[in-house]
């Protein structure tokens, strides 16, 4: 870094390269200034994110019910984690989370991709169409949840009225039945998230390599082949990004579940995130809830790493 200050920036190719690559000014300001710039943000992040993060790790080794006050905190070692592994409710919530995210995320991706490829063509009113599909994504969960609760009302809801027209004999009970509550949740989730996937895919499609399509057309490639050989590989990083963000987002939200089903009927919609919410803010078992949260987070984190690795390996091969 001293070379940059002593030699004029244009004197040697290496210096010039370095400046361009890092995009930094070649001279050092006083170090204190940098700290002054980040101080407000850093203090806030330390206070509201870092300290709580350390605390949640510490809490996960304790047994503590809020009702017993701060003196009631009792250190129990790794008991919480051992208990998590033996907790049937934890495993059941894990299974429900896997089904919920495992169905909702791929379907959201597929719907988003289909919408994006359709919107990427020359269709009348494109911008407005895009807005229509995107609007559900930016509406608050409570407005959405209340509306769908009524649309999916087993007896008088619009959807079952519609299905009844076809003479279906036993109509699904949706949020009122333990069998249909999760499918209903998946349906609402896809409806709310597909516009986001579509938007991201659309911007990726617009960056797709035009010359390659031209070349493929000259070679007489069909539409499906072009999609497989050009579009899909160029969309792969976007797909992995969406897969990860949607998976993380869906597996961590509990608002809609808390609002509509409160985890039920029975425990049919108790996902891990809702289980953690319930353990902490309905039963106030803060120590155990922290352990559940940490295990969940580590699991999701590992899964994210795997997906990211797979994508990188694939990208290198192609």
């Amino acid at each position: 870094m001293t070379t940059a200050t002593t030699t004029p920036p244009a004197s040697g190719p290496s210096t010039a390269n370095r400046t361009r690559r890092t995009g930094r000014a070649p001279s050092d300001p006083k170090p204190l200034v940098g700290w002054l710039f980040i101080a407000p943000n850093l203090l806030g992040v330390l206070l509201f994110t870092f300290v709580p993060l350390v605390s949640v790790v510490l809490l996960s080794f304790t047994k503590w019910n809020l009702v017993s006050g701060l003196e009631g905190i009792e250190f129990v070692g790794i008991d919480n984690f051992l208990f998590v592994l033996q907790d049937p409710k934890f495993w059941r919530s894990l299974l429900i989370t896997v089904v919920y995210a495992g169905v909702a995320v791929p379907l959201t991706l597929v719907v988003g991709l289909l919408l994006a490829t359709a919107l990427n063509r020359d269709v009348p009113g494109r911008a407005l169409l895009r807005a229509c599909f995107f609007i559900p994504y930016i509406v608050n969960v409570v407005a959405i949840g209340m509306t769908w609760m009524m649309l999916l009302d087993p007896s008088a809801g619009l959807l079952n009225q519609f299905l009844g027209n076809f003479g279906a004999e036993s109509l699904p009970g949706w949020f009122a039945s333990s069998r249909w509550a999760l499918p209903a949740l998946i349906l609402v989730t896809i409806w709310a998230q597909a516009g986001y996937a579509c938007l991201i895919y659309l911007s990726a499609l617009q960056d797709a390599p035009e010359q390659l399509y031209e070349a493929a057309r000259i070679d007489g490639a069909g539409r499906w082949r072009m999609f497989r050989a050009i579009t899909w590989p160029s969309l792969l990083p976007t797909s992995v990004f969406l897969l990860i963000t949607l998976f993380v987002g869906i597996s961590q939200s509990f608002g809609m579940i808390a609002l509509i089903t409160n985890g039920g009927p029975g425990s049919s919609t108790t996902t891990l995130s809702f289980y953690m919410y319930q353990t902490s803010f309905q039963f106030y078992r803060f120590g155990y809830a922290s352990a559940v949260g940490l295990v969940t987070f580590l699991g999701i984190f590992a899964l994210m790493l795997v997906m990211w690795r797979l994508q990188r390996g694939r990208a290198l091969h192609d």
């Binding site: 000014a25 200034v33 943000n41 850093l42 609007i135 608050n140 608002g255 809830a289 949260g293 940490l294």
Partner: protein, 304 residues
């Protein structure tokens, strides 16, 4: 539109023939294109209307008396519009105006705080060199992966100890200092050339002047994108208020929406939907006005 051949001076029949067929081919081509345009357009529009159907239901129900909400078959346009649902939601006993005010206040303070701290920090990470910068940056990277839900329990405990529980500050303060906002701003400033700073420095400007006069004006598009994102997150947040607020005076809009039940405790469809419509309007306005910037903000934060 030119199916017929324009008269030409060329007398060669061959040429005329080829022109006729060229024109006809053109016309056919255009017609086929138009057909294809609408061939994709019409199903897409039908699908889009289906997507918006829940909102149509929401608006329709918000203008009906409760007893008519579930008539079979569904009556999309009410016999008489019951605007009283809206006046009750706005000015009645359980008015949502205070909650609306709370939501506006929280969103504004979060946006202002976020912009102030994230631009400064993002700039420093991108353009200033100081000892310890990389260490801090790695800590930021690590915390950016932590889901907010994991932090709810300790935040809840600290807020209770500090007297912030059940106050709007429990929502505002954590929202003012975010790692994601800092990353977005850093990403932008990294793309800016360092020569600007160098030139200004030679002119004797200090670091704050360089930031405020040289880099900040260029960052306005990115700053407004971040402002929009923060506003939307803040306006729609339901989970933090659910955990940190308990008395109705402090409720923000999403939480206040859950209040509209009838005597039996069941949801009162008419006023509940009127309240829902009101809660959506600000977001819709922001979205429609800033649509381009909004889309840019979404994709930019995605491809960071």
């Amino acid at each position: 539109m030119t199916d017929t051949l324009h008269p030409t001076r060329d007398s060669s029949t061959q040429q005329v023939e080829s022109r006729t067929s060229a024109a006809a081919r053109d016309a056919l081509h255009r017609r086929r294109r138009r057909l294809r345009r609408w061939g994709w357009g019409i199903p897409l529009w039908i699908l889009a209307l289906l997507f918006l159907l829940p909102f149509a239901w929401m608006i329709s129900t918000s203008l009906k008396p409760d007893v008519e909400a579930f008539t079979v078959p569904m009556q999309w346009i009410p016999n008489d519009f019951r605007w009283e649902n809206y006046t009750e939601v706005l000015f009645g006993e359980r008015s949502i105006l205070p909650a609306f005010g709370n939501s506006v206040l929280v969103a504004l303070l979060r946006v202002l705080g976020e912009l102030a701290t994230a631009t400064l920090a993002g700039y420093a990470f991108a353009k200033l060199r100081f000892r310890g910068r990389n260490v801090v940056f790695i800590v930021y990277l690590a915390t950016s992966l932590i889901p907010a839900q994991l932090l709810l329990v300790p935040r809840f405990v600290y807020f209770q100890q500090l007297g912030l529980y059940d106050s709007l500050w429990a929502l505002i303060l954590p929202g003012m200092f975010t790692v994601l906002g800092t990353f977005l701003m850093r990403q932008f400033f990294v793309s800016q050339p360092g020569e600007f700073a160098e030139a200004a420095r030679l002119d004797g400007a200090n670091e704050f002047q360089i930031f405020f006069r040289v880099y900040l004006p260029n960052a306005l598009p990115m700053i407004s994108a971040l402002a929009i994102l923060t506003f939307v997150w803040s306006w729609n947040d339901y989970e933090s208020p659910l955990v940190f607020l308990s008395s109705p005076e402090t409720f923000t809009l999403p939480l206040a929406l859950t209040n509209f039940t009838d005597e039996t405790g069941a949801m009162a469809p008419g006023i509940a939907m009127a309240a829902a419509v009101i809660s959506i309007i600000p977001i819709l306005v922001v979205f429609l006005i800033f649509q381009r910037r909004f889309v840019q903000a979404m994709t930019e934060s995605a491809l960071k």
